[in-house]
């Protein structure tokens, strides 16, 4: 049980790290939002799942309620975070932020 918790936490951290690297290194606003929106949601899911499983060291009803509450937080994040990403990207599109296009390579 502990191994599963550790694996889930490490996976969540890896996805968070990938999100941050993408946020800093991508060339364009839209690709950065893409990285932030998706990576955020998935890594939150993994880490909260790890916390919910860690709770089960002693299996009784109170711990089951706590695990259910943590999973409800996951449901809320799944609903709210992509909506927020969509709102930001939509606002940027309305404001006229142009997507990055690759410059045509010169043929010598």
């Amino acid at each position: 049980m502990d191994i599963v918790v550790i694996l889930l936490t490490v996976a969540g951290l890896l996805f968070f790290f990938a999100t941050t690297v993408g946020l800093l290194r991508f060339p364009d606003f839209y690709s950065r939002m893409h990285a932030a929106g998706k990576g955020d949601t998935l890594s939150s899911l993994l880490m909260l799942l790890a916390l919910a499983l860690y709770n089960f060291h002693e299996a009784n009803l109170a711990n089951l309620l706590v695990a259910i509450k943590i999973l409800l937080i996951v449901v809320f994040i799944f609903m709210a975070s992509p909506t927020a990403t969509h709102a930001i990207t939509d606002a940027a599109f309305e404001s006229g932020v142009k997507p990055w296009t690759k410059e045509p390579e010169e043929k010598s």
Binding site: M79, T83, H86, A87, S95
Partner: protein, 340 residues
């Protein structure tokens, strides 16, 4: 008291504080301030102050950021170019800051160590609260019992302060005439905000659950972190979410200005009314144990618990109404015609 976690969060907090006051764009400053508030909330959770962290998460990282963005929306977004001649002011400010910081650091040398269980602050009055709260009031959350029962007088005036702040904002900003003497054109609108299906749908789905959760926070404040203020702010934030995702006029149709101010009044009146009821029944002001004569089938200890629940409900109603009212006034510049 994990000092590694303390140190890392504190470093991030200092970086955020520097960044907030240094950036040239006010919108970025508001959003970095939201991140700073959230990091503060994390630090307080780690120190064991869960009620304070809950309040800061809802108030600081939630409503404060929205109020800043609403104010920036109505005024300019860019910080102006600094003209010359400010160097003397900055130098004097720096000297004053350094002198104050030095005085504080010299005073700090006499402090007891951090996270020491035997500091004088923890030895005189708080052991009574910690050991006696279950016996006196049957409420496990010590912060709620101290806030609502042992120090209930303070909390009543705090609710009055919130109400007065709402009144002050109305007095400063509210305009009723159609043409204004000193009117400036509205904020620069980039594009017409077309109704967005996804955001409206999700907001409409989420708002009932947010309000249900806020009512749960108010009611469960005796056993878990929570209470009247947090629940009231979350209720107000749900209305602000509706106003942002839908139209401003639509929320005005649901919660008109008159109803809003009436609710604010009812909240403060509920709090003072319960205290006055205790006075009428023969005990001191806000002494809830006398309420056992009015409430059926309770003894004096449970009557204190129920009295606390009553005033928490009053506080929640008042805070919700005032948060909504302040947001409405700031975002529409007092005219209540269009907003964010």
């Amino acid at each position: 008291m994990i000092w590694q976690l303390d140190l890392s969060i504190l470093t991030l907090i200092v970086i955020c504080a520097f960044a907030t006051i240094m950036v040239k764009d006010l919108l970025s400053a508001a959003i970095i301030f939201g991140a700073y508030s959230f990091l503060m909330c994390l630090l307080w959770t780690e120190m064991g102050a869960v009620d304070v962290a809950f309040t800061e998460a809802s108030v600081g990282a939630g409503v404060s950021t929205v109020l800043f963005i609403a104010a920036i929306y109505q005024t300019t977004r860019k910080v102006g170019v600094r003209k010359s001649g400010r160097l003397l002011t900055k130098a004097v400010a720096l000297v004053a800051t350094l002198i104050t910081g030095l005085v504080l650091l010299i005073a700090e040398a006499d402090f007891p160590g951090f996270a020491n269980p035997f500091t004088p602050a923890s030895l005189h009055l708080s052991p009574y609260y910690i050991t006696q709260t279950l016996h006196d009031t049957n409420v496990p959350n010590i912060v709620t019992s101290v806030l609502a029962d042992y120090r209930g007088f303070d909390t009543m005036f705090e609710t009055a302060v919130i109400f007065t702040a709402g009144l002050a904002v109305i007095a400063i900003l509210r305009r009723f005439k159609k043409e204004d003497r000193c009117d400036i054109p509205g904020p620069y609108v980039i594009s017409e905000a077309h109704p967005d299906t996804i955001i409206r749908f999700i907001a409409r789905q989420l708002v009932p659950f947010i309000q249900l959760f806020a009512l749960y926070v108010v009611a469960h404040g005796h056993h878990s972190p929570g209470g009247g203020f947090q629940g009231g702010v979350i209720l107000g934030a749900s209305f602000i979410l509706l106003a942002i995702s839908f139209d401003f006029k639509m929320v005005l149709g649901i919660m008109s200005e008159r109803l809003n101010i009436l609710l604010g009044n009812i909240g403060v009146l509920l709090y003072a009314g319960i205290g006055f009821l205790c006075l009428l029944l023969g005990a001191n002001f806000l002494d809830y144990s006398i309420l056992s004569k009015v409430l059926p089938a309770t003894d004096t200890i449970m009557a204190r618990s129920h009295g606390m629940l009553g005033i928490e409900i009053g506080v929640a109603i008042a805070v919700m109404a005032i948060v909504i009212s302040i947001y409405f006034n700031i975002v529409s510049r007092g005219k209540y015609d269009k907003g964010l």
